[in-house]
């Protein structure tokens, strides 16, 4: 049994009379420790899938099994608890709390979770040893995203979800961030899911899931992922 199983998931949004199926009987699985990249054009349903994986949204039908637990049945507090303990989230726009320093932003996450890692250690790991006391406004975009990643992984989650983590970054910085994510997955044996519309990133992944019209139409595994440094786009 796979670590993550997305089984026949349907997500339907009702806009008055019209109902739009963001996910239409989608199926995929992800193994533990895999770095998965989900690609597809805008509106293909990849973000919806990520939201559901991250416990931010619920399914209309189907099952979502994470480490054997069916989170599609979770509601309210259980769902929050799942987010709190099992998921790390990296946003396209970092979503750091501006009023808190890099360290504090990490602490914001670790404060509420049981098996958290040391915020300072994590920040050191992401290469921000010297910027810990800086406020987000005092950091560059890449550095801010590093803080965000640190915040996500400090919780020691089962699953690290990244929504267009490089979307707001320049090429090089984006590369560094992806490198960090790849390294993290490798070193920490963390299950990482990255959403991107940039299909040129696919070689870095262990598994590539392609979305189109709410369906995962193509799932390929990549036994030898390309290091990010070698990928050009």
């Amino acid at each position: 049994m796979s670590y993550i199983e997305f089984k026949d998931v349907v997500k339907e949004y009702k806009m008055g009379e019209v109902s739009i199926k963001a996910l239409n009987h989608t199926n995929f699985t992800i193994e533990k420790g895999e770095l998965t990249v989900i690609v597809g054009p805008s509106g293909a349903g990849k973000t919806t899938a990520l939201n559901i994986l991250g416990g931010m949204d619920t399914v209309t039908s189907g099952k979502v099994l994470i480490d054997g637990k069916d989170i599609s049945t979770y509601k309210g507090k259980a769902l929050t608890k799942y987010r709190r303990e099992d998921v790390g989230f990296v946003f396209q726009f970092y979503n750091l709390v501006q009023n808190l320093t890099a360290l504090e932003n990490v602490e914001l996450a670790t404060e509420i979770c049981k098996d958290s890692l040391s915020p300072k250690e994590i920040l050191k790991k992401v290469g921000l040893k010297d910027r810990m006391k800086n406020f987000p406004a005092q950091l560059s975009g890449g550095e801010q995203q590093r803080v965000a990643i640190a915040r996500a992984i400090a919780k020691n989650p089962k699953l690290l979800l990244c929504d267009e983590p490089t979307g707001a970054l320049d090429y090089n910085t984006g590369k560094q961030i992806l490198q960090l994510l790849q390294d993290t997955a490798r070193k920490e044996n963390m299950t990482v899911v990255i959403i991107t519309h940039n299909s040129s990133l696919t070689p870095m992944a262990d598994k590539v899931i392609r979305f189109k019209n709410g369906e995962a139409y193509d799932i390929t595994t990549n036994p030898n992922p390309t290091p990010i440094q070698e990928i050009e786009w």
Partner: protein, 1098 residues
């Protein structure tokens, strides 16, 4: 503005309808409250004005101490500005119902001025009909159609006789009315019954018969269009009033002259009559005197006559008597000679008689002896016979006896024969023969007889003449007697006449005395009358304007009070509301910077871009303001006037759209919202499109001051650190929240404080300061003893526990000068005053003052108003206009009206006269209202002494009623402030959430539970709210002081009580609203979609 942009604007409104609505609502509240409260006072004034215009209420009223006459009317009509004038009558009267007597004011139905508003039924037409005020029916249980008996107060007519003004006593109620003269519940006081007029009623003029009018009402030209509460009106009227006063001056003099002349004429006439009568009396008296004198002389002459008569008579009598005497003497002579002759004759006779007698005796003896001898013979014969007859043997004893007798008889015979011989010898010796004796005797007897006859005839002759003389004498005597009687009678008559004269003289004396007395009396009376004329006081004219109408003044004062509250409350309210809308708009523009950039990039100019937001703000503000005005202008004055309406009878409330406050409110609101919008737009539009389209650099985090104190900072929990940071992160919101909450709390605190101060004033004054329950006013013309007696009477009543006599008089202060009404109170017993009135320091209630003989005690508000301190010297002018200088000993706690307390000794020393006690203060036992009324009526029975009774409870009730209404107004303020608190907090919370929605969505994604998210946000709000509340409590104190001082009237002092409860209530109410808002926030936070976190920064 381009079409698309307009479309965009409206769509923006639709999408952000909540925000639009919140701005609209806050503007609505702010403007509505501002406009409403502000408009209330003018609306009240207009309501009054409209009512007075509609009923053609008087502008000037004239009263006179001597009533008013047609001449007065004629003179007043000459004043050009007087539009209309109507004379009217009114009198206090009693109406008896089953259970009580009620004092009413009966007036004539007005025709053109002070028109009545008919509520039910019809106006009176016949003279037995009347109309009453509505509460009369409610209070007495009478109905339209019932008949009541009215007993009017007796008034003096021109001759000073008591007359009834009304021709009828029974009136049928035909309708109910309202009069503009009585808009408040106060109807004034009366000398009748309980002393308080309860209702008014009107009767037609036909039912009134009185020689003069009691009031004149006038309206002035061209003032109807003026607001009666305006200065222009007051100024205009005071100008006319001066003219009326001028007329008053002349008419007063004329009327005075007229009355004096009339009185003088009367006195003169009386004097004339008196003089005439005096003359007449004198004439009569002298006539009587003359008559008496005549009588006297007549008597004198008759007296003389009588005397002469008497004399004459006496003379005559004397001569007659003399003659008689002479005759008597003659007779006496005759008698004497007669006597002589008699004597001679008698001697002869006696001689003869003696002879005769001797002879007779001899004869007799002879005869006797002869007869004796014969008898003896016979007896001897008898005895011889017997002896013979008898046997000489046998009857020897008897013969012896007989023989003895024979012997004795023979002896006797022998003796007798001897005697016979002797006599015969005697006779023979006289020359006589014993046989001739008889003839001699006869001769002698004949001689004696003749002598006797002679004497008798002589005697008879004499006796006759004697008798004659006697008769004459008798006749003389009787004549004399007769004459004497006549004279006596005449004398008696004279005496009687004299007596009569004396009596008449006495009578005359009496009559004279009486007449003199009468004349003197009449003269005294006349002199009195003359004196009285001198004392006739000039009639006083009282020229009253509406400002002397109690209801009118009270109403306007209430309007002023509302205006005073309106000075502060709505402004605080408005400022808070303005700040909030400002924040909202500012936030909105900032949120839309991306769009602004886009539009700018598309080539729209600044004005076009800004116009979208301006339109947004403008729409929200205008709609909010207009709605606010509509509701505010309608609702708030409506509610407040309705509340005051309970105290006043004004039929229709005028609620106007007050353009001034509408424009002010709208402009102020626009300044805040549109101004804020323009400011923010201008600031944003300065940037280049590219910069604008890029997300605005989020506000950088900063270290706060607290972090520099590691000692404290390290102690804080992570979440607390976050909160501390956040608090200082949004300084604008920080300020807004604090100011908003502070404003609300302070408004609520002030509201409660005002309410407490207002409501506690009455219990403080009447419970703690004035401990007496009743005040009995004594008439002016009462002696010390009568007051003493009245006080004792009062004290003797069961329901009265204690009394004290005081002098109360209105005084004025010259230095420092004041136009306040001040009462001077001088208690009889200084020591006992504290049982009735407590003099103490408000701040230290244990410090009780007592009156000294060197200084006075002043009430606090008076001291404050005139800036008088303990030790200052003030000058007090008493009601007799005597002014004295005195030092202030102490300043005492007091809430209503102004008083100066002085000891009687000091009064006597200062004013140089003994203080006259004219009031009695009394304490009662616990009494029901009914018993109190009964007691008042009972005391008033003593009309000769008592002029009025005031029960403090009733005074307290009136004030409580007024203050009760104030209380309601304050409640409105509190509720409004609470609403504002709610709106402010809700709005701020919304702004807070919308501003930080990404952050909140993110922490939700991070797995914060709902409660943690809530705490993350609201912890800071709570802290800010608490800070705001505490500051608000402090500010509430100052605001309270300010408002209280502004609202306070000169005549009273609020009992400023900033009790802990006030603060607790202020804080609690704010907390309640904050909690409601926080609950709403909790749900709003739950609704936040985590997807928001994924969105790009706009």
């Amino acid at each position: 503005m381009k079409k698309t942009l307009i479309k965009d604007s409206f769509r923006e409104i639709r999408y952000t309808f909540k925000r639009f609505l919140s701005i609209l609502l806050i503007v609505f509240l702010g403007v509505g409250f501002f406009a409403g409260v502000k408009a209330t006072s003018p609306d009240m004034e207009k309501t009054l004005d409209a009512y007075f215009d509609q009923t053609a209420a008087y502008d000037i009223e004239v009263l006179s101490t001597l009533g008013l006459k047609d001449e007065d009317i004629a003179k007043l009509k000459e004043i050009e500005e007087i539009e209309n004038l109507e004379a009217s009558y009114s009198v206090d009267a009693l109406v008896h119902t089953d259970s009580k007597e009620i004092v009413v004011k009966v007036s004539s139905v007005p025709e053109t001025i002070n028109n009545l508003t008919l509520l039910q039924g019809k106006l009176p037409e016949a003279k037995q009909e009347c109309v009453v005020e509505e509460s009369f029916l409610e209070g007495t249980g009478y109905q339209i159609g019932d008949t009541i008996t009215i007993e009017p107060e007796m008034l003096q007519d021109e001759e000073g006789n008591d007359t009834s003004m009304l021709t009828e006593t029974e009136f049928t109620i035909v309708g109910t009315v309202q009069s503009p003269l009585y808009i408040s519940h106060s109807r004034g006081s009366s000398k009748l019954g309980s002393g308080k007029i309860k209702y008014y009623l009107f009767v037609p003029k036909q039912a009134i018969d009185f020689p003069f009018y009691t009031e004149l009402y006038m309206t002035v030209k061209d003032v109807k269009q003026l607001n009666t509460a305006s200065d222009t009106y007051t100024d205009t009227i005071s100008e006319i009033k001066e003219k009326v006063e001028a007329v008053g001056e002349t008419r007063k003099q004329e009327r005075y002259d007229e009355i004096v002349a009339e009185a003088n004429q009367k006195v003169e006439d009386a004097q004339k009559t008196l003089d005439e009568e005096k003359q007449k009396a004198e004439t009569e008296l002298s006539d009587a005197e003359k008559q008496i004198a005549d009588a006297k002389s007549t008597i004198e002459s008759s007296k003389a006559e009588v005397n002469s008569k008497e004399r004459k008579a006496n003379q005559e009598f004397a001569s007659a008597e003399q003659k008689l005497q002479e005759a008597k003497e003659e007779i006496e002579q005759g008698e004497a000679s007669l006597q002589e002759a008699k004597k001679q004759a008698e001697t002869k006779i006696t001689e003869a008689q003696t002879k005769l007698e001797q002879l007779s005796t001899l004869q007799e003896q002879y005869t006797k002896i002869t007869s004796g001898l014969e008898t003896l013979q016979e007896s001897l014969n008898n005895i011889k016979e017997q002896i013979q007859k008898l046997d000489p043997e046998k009857q020897k004893a008897e013969i012896a006896v007989l023989e003895k007798q024979q012997k004795e008889l023979q002896a006797q015979q022998t003796t007798l024969q001897a005697q016979k011989k002797q006599i015969e010898t005697a006779i023979t010796s006289a020359g006589l023969q014993p046989d001739a004796i008889a003839s001699t005797i006869a001769t002698i007897q004949k001689q004696i007889e003749t002598a006797n006859q002679e004497l008798t005839s002589k005697e008879t002759l004499l006796n006759n003449s004697k008798k004659e003389i006697e008769t004459q004498e008798k006749a003389l005597q009787s004549t004399k007697k007769q004459t004497q009687t006549q004279i006596a009678n005449a004398r008696a008559e004279i005496e009687k006449g004299e007596q009569e004269i004396a009596e008449n003289e006495a009578k005359l004396e009496d009559a004279r005395k009486e007449a003199d007395e009468k004349i003197a009396d009449a003269q005294t009376k006349l002199d009195d009358a003359k004196d009285k004329i001198k004392q006739i006081e000039k009639p006083e004219w009282y020229i009253l304007t509406r400002e002397e109408n109690q209801g009118y003044v009270e109403y306007l004062q209430d309007a002023d009070r509302i205006a005073n509250i309106g000075k502060v409350f709505p402004i605080v309210f408005f400022v808070v509301a303005a700040l909030i809308s400002l924040t909202s708009m500012n936030r909105m523009v900032e949120e839309q910077r991306g769009e602004i950039g886009t539009l700018k990039a598309l080539g729209y100019n600044k004005v076009q871009i800004a116009s979208k937001y301006i339109l947004y703000a403008l729409l929200a503000t205008v709609i909010g303001s207009v709605l606010g005005m509509c509701v505010g202008f309608q609702l708030i004055p409506g509610i407040i006037i309705d509340i005051y309406g309970m105290m006043y009878t004004i039929p229709e409330t005028v609620i106007e759209f007050n353009t001034y406050y509408a424009v002010t409110g709208l402009l102020a609101a626009l300044l805040c919202t549109v101004g804020a919008t323009i400011y923010t737009c201008v600031k944003e539009l300065m940037g280049t499109p590219a910069k604008l389209m890029r997300p605005k650099a989020p506000k950088p985090g900063k270290r706060v001051l607290l972090e520099k104190i590691p000692f404290l900072w390290s102690r804080l929990k992570f979440s607390q650190k976050v909160t501390v940071r956040n608090i200082f992160r949004y300084k604008k919101r920080f300020l807004m929240t604090i100011i908003g909450v502070m404003g609300c709390t302070s408004l609520i605190v002030a509201g409660f404080a005002l309410r407490d101060s207002v409501t506690s004033m009455i219990p403080s004054q009447y419970g703690e300061i004035f401990k007496y329950d009743l005040q009995v006013s004594i008439r002016d013309d009462i002696t010390r003893e009568q007051i003493e007696e009245e006080a004792e009477n009062l004290q003797a009543k069961d329901s009265v526990s204690d009394v004290i006599k005081v002098n109360m008089q209105a005084v004025t202060m010259e230095e420092p000068s004041s136009n306040q009404d001040i009462q001077l109170i001088v208690p009889e017993e200084v020591d006992r005053l504290q049982d009735f009135i407590v003099l103490r320091d408000r701040k230290k209630p244990d410090t009780v003052y007592s009156l000294s003989d060197t200084g006075v005690i002043l009430t606090e508000k008076l001291a404050t108003l005139l800036d008088i301190k303990v030790g200052d010297t003030i000058r007090i002018k008493n009601s007799d206009d005597k002014e004295v200088e005195v030092t202030v000993d102490a300043i005492t706690e007091n809430y209503l009206l102004h008083y100066i307390y002085m000891s009687p000794n000091l009064y006597n020393t200062l004013y140089g006269e003994n203080v006259r006690y004219n009031d009695i203060l009394g304490k009662t036992t616990e009494l029901t209202e009914e018993k109190e009324t009964k007691l008042a009526t009972e005391i008033l029975q003593n009309k000769d002494t008592v002029s009025g009774v005031t029960m403090l409870n009733s005074t307290q009730n009136i004030f409580e009623e007024i203050m009760g209404n104030m209380d309601l107004v304050v409640w409105i303020l509190i509720i409004a402030a609470g609403l504002l608190a709610f709106t402010v907090l809700y709005n701020l919370s919304n702004v807070n959430i919308s501003e930080r929605i990404r952050e909140l969505a993110t922490i939700k994604v991070l797995g914060f539970y709902d409660k943690e998210v809530y705490n993350y946000v609201t912890r800071e709000t709570v802290i800010l709210t608490v800070i705001g509340m505490l500051l608000g409590a402090v500010m509430g104190y100052f605001l309270s002081m300010f408002i209280i001082k502004t609202c306070e009237l000169d005549m009273l002092m609020f009992d400023v009580r900033m009790s802990a409860v006030t603060y607790v209530l202020g804080i609690t109410i704010t907390l309640v609203f904050a909690t409601i808002v926080n609950i709403a926030t909790y749900f709003a936070l739950r609704k936040i979609d985590m997807i928001e976190s994924l969105k790009s920064v706009e």
